[in-house]
Symmetry: C2
Subunit: 257 residues, 2 copies
């Protein structure tokens, strides 16, 4: 039986707790033996309260401790652990493995998904980026990872950094462009819902084809008449700046000008 402890009570921690509890039900040989939360009652709906501790001194012995806290708390939380030479992972996309305290063996257990509180996700579909200091630790990490995700992959700190930057472009920034589209629709009394099928289709396309091949639109066609008309239409300075920069970038194929 592989014994896991989750440290944290936020978004990622809660999704991990649910995923491990589901894995337990499937008798997969894993056990979430304990959770650490400063406010024990914050997890009352999720897990039997007697499994939750708020004392580092009460932490049981486990094969893997997963610190699922905010980036800036990882270092201090890892230094508060009172045991030594156990396997301790954080769940951050942007924090290096080396930030973890030297008292224990370091690892990363990073689920690449943006979790929304309360919104159920099928953890099995989420890519899990794993990193450890040696192959024995990696095997343990991988064993645990594969029990909750179908996409557990070895990713080192440098690759993880790249992934995190890439995810900001592909996801955070895309979502912001959806917001601008929504703003433009609102200003012009057009229901944003008309755009939703196209947004889904655009995202779906790149599962099968390279985004470079999938590119369409006036910038790609070098349709200057439409580009001029759009720039004349856009009244907001910030929107106009973004329109011009991304149009230019498409015309230069995303490469340095």
């Amino acid at each position: 039986m592989v014994k896991v402890i989750v440290i944290g009570s936020g978004n990622v921690a809660q999704h991990l707790i649910t995923a491990f509890q589901n894995a337990e039900k499937n008798e997969s040989g894993i056990s979430l033996i304990q959770v650490f939360a400063r406010k024990r009652e914050s997890l009352a709906a999720l897990i039997p309260i007697q499994k939750v501790t708020n004392q580092f001194s009460e932490l049981l012995e486990a094969d893997l401790y997963i610190i699922a806290v905010s980036d800036d708390a990882i270092e201090s939380v890892s230094s508060e652990l009172l045991f030594k030479n156990r396997l301790v992972a954080h769940t951050s996309g942007s924090v290096p493995l080396t930030l973890l305290n030297n008292n224990n063996r370091k690892a990363v257990f990073y689920p690449l998904q943006s979790f929304t509180k309360g919104a159920a996700v099928d953890f099995k579909t989420i890519p899990l980026c794993l990193e450890a200091e040696n192959s024995i630790d990696f095997q343990m990490l991988s064993k645990v990872g594969k029990l909750i995700s179908d996409h557990a992959t070895a990713i080192n700190s440098q690759q993880r950094k790249a992934l995190h930057v890439a995810a900001v472009f592909a996801n955070n920034f895309s979502n912001h462009l959806y917001q601008i589209a929504n703003d433009i629709c609102k200003e012009n009394q057009v229901p944003f819902s008309i755009l939703k099928p196209l947004i889904q289709e655009t995202a779906k396309k790149i599962v099968a084809i390279d985004p470079e091949q999938a590119q369409t639109g006036p910038a790609k066609r070098n349709d200057q008449i439409t580009i001029d008309a759009h720039e004349a239409f856009i009244k907001d300075d910030n929107q106009l700046k973004i329109y011009k920069l991304l149009t230019q970038s498409i015309q230069h194929n995303g490469k340095k000008l």
Copy 2:
């Protein structure tokens, strides 16, 4: 029986031809009686060749003529029609209704989707933006539209212009951000496929929640340490410009600075 003729042989024309042929099969009271294509043989795989003409003088009488050609050819093609006072629509998101020749009654029949040649689409799911000069013409347009799409909506030229600009942000620009993410992955030997579930999830989220509510990431959290680390990581000037501008825009909630 409503008689429709499609003029054009490109991407949109081909998808319309397929959609109308499917509607015919369902005995919906619509008939695609003819197609105009300069090169008749280009449609040989799609429709019986005797239904295709390359002579404007041979065009039959129909209830609706749909000009599905590139934006810059709409005006000239509409002026080549030899009949008068019939209902003629174009399929463009960015061309005003008024650009059509005065000889006939003008309309717009704009499917809001980016079609990829050869890739099958369920036309029923595609939003169809309709505009006519009077309510009788609009009724005919709407009747035809509803036979091939479950989302036929009245959209005037000003709204259509807004939609087209919004679609460039939400789709063309998002796809370009996917490409940049792909480039960053490639440069760092990370498989882009790891990001694909997150991309789908980001697009799916905004079906249910407002993009403003769905926004996540370092810019939204004002996490300056991560933003600085990302900016230090990005080596390409163009990527860095985009990162900075969109980060700033998220921090100002997409409003003018």
